[in-house]
Subunit: 245 residues, 2 copies
DNA sequence: CGGGTTTCTCAGAGAAATCACAGCTTGGGG
DNA sequence: CCCCAAGCTGTGATTTCTCTGAGAAACCCG
């Protein structure tokens, strides 16, 4: 089931109307905190664990609808944790966190059941998007919720990564896509550059703050080019997107 | 009966509309887990067993529509298990798992009854495809469900392994065929290289991830050659197939 | 056993995306 | 009406990703 909150955000809910539950497992506390905060903001209920045993215990009594699992835990190897989780929660989708370089070596089979993974360092927007996808597809949330965001005559499909304005297809790069997704997820709301940076860029990004301006500029060229603009600047505050009308 | 889920995947269902039930029997837990995960993702209901006696017991009260049976079990020889299964479930099709070298001849006789087999290490795409075939042919699912995938002017027949584009026959190798099947089963959806690798290559594949790029390249030569391309790259995300239109 | 086929590795070429930097434009307070 | 801070965008260096040719090894079939 989906419902729209007072702020205009669309939330995933379970069929019985209760909030989706997500278990976050990582040994770095800064990461679990970062994730918990971001995921709570989605309206989800979060529990976190710092090691494999904690994860198994939490799975048992928290009974999450999805799990975010770091593959590098101090006490147990990621696959063992996965195995034990599966015993208690056979149908729960898992989002794996892996180091960038470790990717190739044994992700094999992990995404087979519809699971997914992201590499560290990740962007929150990416984690949230993938989790939403997993939950949506697992059926823990209402299956009718679909993967297309719409604002005015602008659409963005999270599955096919297709973007259209007034019916015309628009090609976006990965970063442009994530930025637009974030804007469209928060229509008519001013988002500060800091928020955007925190959400769309990976947490260890150390560059110039004006990448945001730069990418807003790219997006405008592709989306607003010669049309009624949808992306607006609020000088000193940030940016927002809203229907052209 | 077939039905189409929100993600656009086509599911097999039993005539009464309930999900298909599959029993998975293997002594290696990692294998039963891998298979269970993949088969659940197909929308099927799964039960697993780790030995012959467990299998017989499970067959009796789970009453599966199909069985995946490893021929090498610790407690009983595969043939005895098969015999006992047949006593309770005379018409249920069985997909045998055998070691690569484990003689074809004995298996060959077994598959005469409409059963089938795959050799370890297998690719999930192959197991799923064969199981679908068995279930479809056994009549447990609606017989009208057919075996041809169509995307635009591209067709792929899972029974005859025939592929055509705009009416012209196209010869594909085994790997190319499985890759294309996977793409066509998920039209308009971006599939990451990891997903493709997990699904199309066998679970013990340890090679370079760029085999995926390589085979995409092969497929393009055969399918898109000099025509409107149907296979698209989403840089940094993966590949997808969609009608040329 | 031998030839054709298939699978896969490796490596280089090329294309695309990301980002820093710097100069230019704009808005609005004084 | 002027000026400054905030925002915008062109240029180009660098990094990252993708494609594909060449060839080695495994495989299949007769």
């Amino acid at each position: 089931m989906t419902t729209t909150s007072p702020q205009g955000r669309t939330e995933l809910l379970r069929p019985d109307g209760s909030p989706v539950r997500v278990l976050v497992v990582d040994d770095e506390q800064s990461i679990t905190e970062l994730l918990s905060m971001a995921l709570r903001y989605e309206g989800w209920q979060i529990r976190s664990a710092g090691d494999g045993h904690g994860a198994v215990r939490a799975a048992r009594d928290f009974r999450p609808d999805a799990v975010v699992l770091d593959m590098m835990l101090p006490d147990m190897d990621g696959l063992s944790v996965l195995g034990r989780l599966r015993r208690d929660l056979p149908d729960v989708p898992v989002l794996f966190l892996t180091a960038k370089d470790a990717v190739e070596d044994r992700i094999a089979g992990l995404t087979a059941g519809g699971d997914d993974y992201v590499t560290k360092p990740f962007s929150l927007e990416e984690v949230v998007a993938r989790l939403r996808g997993l939950i949506r597809r697992s059926g823990a949330a209402d299956r009718r919720s679909d993967s297309v965001l719409v604002v005015g005559d602008l659409t963005l499909d999270e599955d096919s990564h297709e973007v259209t304005r007034g019916g015309d297809g628009i090609h976006l790069t990965a970063t442009e896509f994530e930025l637009l997704r974030f804007l469209m997820r928060n229509p008519r709301r001013v988002l500060s550059k800091a928020q955007i940076l925190d959400r769309v860029w990976s947490y260890d990004f150390g560059g110039q703050a004006n990448v945001v301006e730069l990418y807003i500029s790219y997006l405008r060229r592709k989306i607003d080019a010669g049309r009624e603009p949808m992306i607006h600047t609020r000088r000193g505050a940030g940016y927002l997107i809203k229907p052209a009308a």
